[in-house]
Subunit: 182 residues, 2 copies
Amino acid sequence: MARVVPETHGEILAAAGRRFALTGYRGTSLQEIARDVGCSKAAVLYHFANKEAILTELMARPIAVLRELDERIVAASGPAEAQRVAAEGFVDLAVRFRREIALLRGEFAELLQEPAFVHIQQISERLIDAFAGHSERPAARIAALVVLAGIAETCGKFVDVPDGELRPALLALVRRALEPVD
Amino acid sequence: MARVVPETHGEILAAAGRRFALTGYRGTSLQEIARDVGCSKAAVLYHFANKEAILTELMARPIAVLRELDERIVAASGPAEAQRVAAEGFVDLAVRFRREIALLRGEFAELLQEPAFVHIQQISERLIDAFAGHSERPAARIAALVVLAGIAETCGKFVDVPDGELRPALLALVRRALEPVD
DNA sequence: TCAGCACCTGACCGATCGGTCAGGCATGCT
DNA sequence: AGCATGCCTGACCGATCGGTCAGGTGCTGA
């Protein structure tokens, strides 16, 4: 007879996800997560090496998808193609993982400093570059950064909007907002 | 002869502004501010009732200007006029006070909860409403929120771009991105 | 000369944080 | 039966946080 294996690991992940989305990563304590799960703080740290490990596991999939998108952008045939791939790919990612992205809640900048996420910074810089059509013109780079940050910051708030509605709305917005590649 | 009055109050404000812009409000301790100024933490709390009072004084002017903008939006003759006033006014505010806005560094959501800033939340909702042309259509509201959040989140990063260049770039972006009022 | 005030200090407070540790309990294998 | 292992607990740790407090210092006006 199969032993009844406790699912504490998964429960911690779920509780942490809910808490992070509510009060942010920094604003959530291990104590609160433990209380939600109904175990001790020490139990949380038995299943995860440290607090950051919880976030890392929660973000593993969206980060993997972001890496794939980065490869596709790098492999694009030219600036126009790179902009198209970046726009569609990023909107897709934002819609699919808007719950996970919401966890970061404006802590992007801080969290990107943490060792587990350093490479994300380089990827986001390449993403902005692609959005700007590889142009150095300030107006192009400003539009790219505003749109990128705006979507990242807000997509988590559209949990009640269905994918089929959010995706085309964001894509249309991106296409309008970004300057066409010259 | 005029007594040599120490300018500690102003120095604290300046140091806090630098620190907040660098590591955020939550991420800055009174200890660090005191060290930068060259005084004790107790001296900081002699000049300011508490940590929040420092932020409040730093944000006093941009908040006052935001209030004026809100009044002009409310007084607008119609949705199209409100959208125009909101767009121009907000871009203007973002450019003028981009250093102060940068202090909040993605802590908007948390800081808006603090008692000193509750009314800001209502204003920002009216701002989004005006951006969306008072429309309830999801696409319009999504575009409004993304653009607003994007500018608020990023304008602080354009310290090296002169006002005369940043303002038209942002205004053009907003006009492209927002849906025209039907 | 002296009281009073503005300004500032170091010591201290309670709370909270992430994280450690020794030990306990139940289960499954030998 | 006995041992190893997975899972978990409560007690504890050092660090840091915002904030308080009693007291000291030096200038000012009466």
